[in-house]
């Protein structure tokens, strides 16, 4: 049985609706990328240097980054030789297999959220400006509530104009309380208040918003560390999750973002936002490989339920779905 068939069975066996969402959300990405792969396969009957060169370019255009692309191509070349693959017909499945492999190399990391059985779970949301932290929090809150959790939000972005109001509106939509102070107040103090309130009301999950900050602003990163410190002082083992929101349109700088935020706040997972455009977010491969940070969620649209858990196999399935359907027919 081919890799694709196994993959499809595995996925369709689990949750048809989610897979559909992935397919829809990724359709733009997929159409562009897969049609190019198909086109490539059609043009090249034989696998040669030129084929690999074109494949390399496809991946570079998905923002995968030079190093990872080189590694993948090397892997592929070895595999092609080992399996003695001569024509391009069977190459698609090998490509996606290796992509998943690269992503999963190293220790197997849980992409589930670390939610405590008893007591308060604190999730801290961090990232540069404009990546969609607040929106993600709104979606995440709705998701947790649907799972039967009680949720509270902390309006820790006291800097950007309108940021508190934005979170309050998301709070209203999800029907959760938002702990806030006035604009310009100390974010660490907001967190302190919020943790107190969360404990008093014994909610399950507190999600903390922070102001967007560029990772090279030392003062702002120090401030974030302080916020992190306050949280870990008030609740043992907290924050249980530090989620880095990453814009899928971001290029190679995302790697530096992930590294710097990891150093400052020990990032535990990535939320890859805005994946419903044409951007591919290929840099997450490099981030997972180099820094060992897994992607936990992807943002696939504007709706409240458009935040989906990340599953590398589904991600690849989304990228290659057209190819899979073709293979099925044959």
């Amino acid at each position: 049985m081919s890799f694709f068939k196994k993959l499809k069975e595995k996925i369709t066996g689990t949750n048809e609706a989610v897979t559909e969402k992935f397919k829809d959300g990724l359709s733009k990405t997929r159409n562009q990328f897969t049609s190019k792969v198909n086109d490539l396969v059609a043009r090249f009957r034989v696998i040669d240097e030129e084929f690999f060169e074109e494949l390399e370019e496809l991946l570079l255009q998905a923002d995968v980054g030079f190093e990872t692309v080189m590694e993948l191509i090397e892997l592929l070349k070895v595999e092609v030789q080992r399996k003695n693959i001569k024509d391009t017909a069977g190459i698609q499945s090998v490509i996606s297999e290796k992509l998943v492999e690269i992503y999963q190399a190293g220790e197997d990391l849980d992409s589930e959220l670390n939610i405590q059985e008893d007591g308060l779970t604190v999730i801290l949301m961090v990232g540069v400006n404009g990546v969609g932290k607040t929106t993600t929090i709104g979606k995440l809150a709705a998701r947790l509530i649907a799972e039967g959790k009680t949720v509270m939000l902390a309006a820790g972005d006291t800097f950007r104009a309108g940021a508190i109001d934005q979170l309050v509106i998301w709070g209203e939509r999800a029907g959760v309380e938002v702990i806030r102070q006035s604009e310009g107040s100390d974010p660490a103090a907001v967190m302190y208040d919020a943790i107190r309130a969360a404990k008093n009301r014994s909610v399950d999950v507190l999600i903390c918003d922070t102001a967007g900050r560029l990772q090279n602003k030392v003062n702002l990163m120090n401030e974030l560390q302080k916020v992190h410190r306050v949280i870990s002082k008030e609740v043992e083992g907290a924050p249980h999750e530090v989620l880095l929101a990453l814009d899928a349109t971001t290029g190679q700088n995302a790697l530096i973002q992930a590294q710097t935020f990891k150093e400052a706040t020990n990032v535990t997972g990535i939320v890859l936002t805005k994946l419903d455009g044409t951007a591919k977010g290929g840099i997450v491969l490099a981030i997972r490989k180099k820094l060992n940070i897994p992607v936990k969620f992807v943002g696939l649209g504007e709706g409240v339920d458009d935040l989906q858990p990340f599953d590398p196999e589904k991600y690849v399935y989304g990228l290659f779905a057209d190819g899979l359907e073709q293979e099925d027919n044959s």
């Binding site: 540069v128 934005q166 090279n216 700088n253 995302a254 455009g277 044409t278 591919k280």
Partner: protein, 451 residues
């Protein structure tokens, strides 16, 4: 994990070639590989890179490089020149309408920084062009987007036209134009909602707004960190709405900003401004040459110099120069210099702008000790006027008092006095050497602030 700049990468290649006497076409090809790599790592779109490398390669093979004794430098120069050419042309000021008001539309993806930039642009237009802008809140989709613009309006004391979220953006714009006429605003800036370039419905809305308001400028606001997708975004917006210029945001980050080149190459529209910080006045004209240096990882010397010029008082530095020459330099002057340096911004940010700074090993981890600067200030401020003018009189007792007064230790005081002595000696030597040379800015003793 700072990326290596092109110059360093080329050095590596050249080391392999060295010893061959002169380089041949194959060597140039090898160097072009490095150019390609550097540009892709800087997020320049692959297609743009290929086209670009072809041009550079032709020039290089032609003769410029192969006859040169310093082929590496030649290649860097050619690459930089071509980059500058591609992004440059003449500076493009804002097109104001002959008949007021001038209408400016801000468009772009979500999170690019449209609303913030709208505020900054309004501020610039008022300050430098003496305009009276009206801001229009046409983002009815993102929660609190209108509040955000209203808050910015309050900060800038500038009127914001908003009708809430229940009225269509097109209608909001229509009424805003009437309002502008009535209140004699000569500029109207429309802040539209962020949208995906593939969202046909929302792109149609932009067309409707454009057709209604016939804008003089349509600015595409783009995040400088954007990767390969920048070309798709720019092309879609240009094809559907027709942009007249680009504003690059978040350039105060450490991204190389290759998107600038990509966008310029596919749309041929000028980059008019760059966003350089969180403050409302942090919007600056675009400088192609600086952008080229940045993409190549060569540091931004010009911005550094400008920053220095902005913050250093001409008069004072002349005075200081005189003091250096006559050696009547006191601790007060030392303090003043410190404060001038501090005004330029966080030291490590300044450091990052220096070319080659990323080459120095360990510097990316080096934390500039701003606390040390604070201590020095405290020590000097705890001295009497007499002590500052003639530090020689500072005896053990005085040291004790100064340490106590400044909350430091006697060792701190001793260290500072020693530094000051050393500096004076150094100045004496220097002024001896270049009595006639003109140096505007001197910052001796600075290195002691780096751990």
């Amino acid at each position: 994990m700072a990326f290596e700049g092109l110059a360093q990468r080329l050095q590596g290649t050249l080391q392999k070639i060295r010893g061959k006497g002169k380089i041949d076409e194959a060597d140039v090809k090898e160097m072009m590989r490095e150019v390609r790599f550097a540009l892709i790592e800087a997020d320049v779109n692959l297609k743009v890179v290929k086209e670009f490398v072809k041009t550079v390669s032709e020039r290089a093979v032609g003769h410029d490089v192969m006859k040169s004794l310093t082929p590496g430098q030649q290649v860097v120069k050619i690459v930089k020149d071509e980059l500058t050419n591609l992004m440059g042309g003449e500076q493009n000021p804002i097109q104001f309408a002959r008949k007021s008001p001038t209408v400016i539309m801000m468009v772009g993806l979500q999170g690019a920084g449209k609303t913030t930039t709208t505020g900054k642009l309004a501020s610039v237009l008022r300050k430098r062009h003496n305009k009276k802008p009206l801001l229009v809140a046409a983002d009815v989709y993102r929660p609190a987007a209108i509040q955000q613009l209203e808050t910015l309006g309050k900060q800038l004391t500038m009127p914001v036209f908003a009708l809430g979220t229940d009225i269509s953006p097109v209608e909001i714009v229509r009424q805003a134009l009437v309002e502008a006429e009535k209140e004699h605003h000569d500029v109207v800036i429309i802040d539209t909602a962020g949208r995906l370039h593939v969202d046909e419905l929302l792109m149609q809305e932009l067309k409707d707004i454009r057709d209604l308001s016939t804008p003089d400028e349509v600015f595409l606001v783009v995040d400088a960190m954007t990767g390969q997708d920048a070309v798709n975004v720019a092309k879609s917006f240009d094809d559907t709405v027709g942009i007249t210029g680009v504003i690059l945001t978040k350039l105060d980050g450490d991204t190389r900003g290759g998107a600038a080149l990509s966008i310029r190459a596919v749309t041929d529209k000028p980059i008019k401004f760059v966003g350089m910080g969180e403050k409302m006045d942090a919007l600056e004209p675009f400088h192609p040459e600086r952008m080229a240096s940045r993409i190549l990882g060569m540091g931004d010397v010009m911005s550094l110099i400008e920053k220095a010029q902005e913050n250093v008082d001409e008069e004072k530095s002349k005075e200081l120069e005189q003091k250096f020459l006559t050696q009547s330099f006191t601790l007060d002057d030392f303090l003043e210099q410190l404060q001038q340096v501090k005004k330029m911004g966080p030291l490590d940010e300044i450091l990052k702008m220096m070319p080659g700074a990323n080459k120095i090993k360990g510097l990316d981890n080096a934390k500039v000790d701003e606390g040390q600067m604070g201590r020095v200030e405290a020590v000097i401020q705890s001295m009497t006027a007499a002590e500052r003018n003639t530090p020689e009189i500072i005896n053990a007792n005085r040291r004790k008092r100064i340490a106590k007064g400044s909350g430091t230790t006697i060792q701190d005081v001793n260290r500072l006095l020693k530094q000051f002595e050393d500096m004076k000696k150094m100045v004496k030597q220097m002024t001896g050497m270049q009595q006639k040379g003109k140096k505007k800015m001197k910052m001796p003793g600075l290195d002691s602030f780096f751990k």
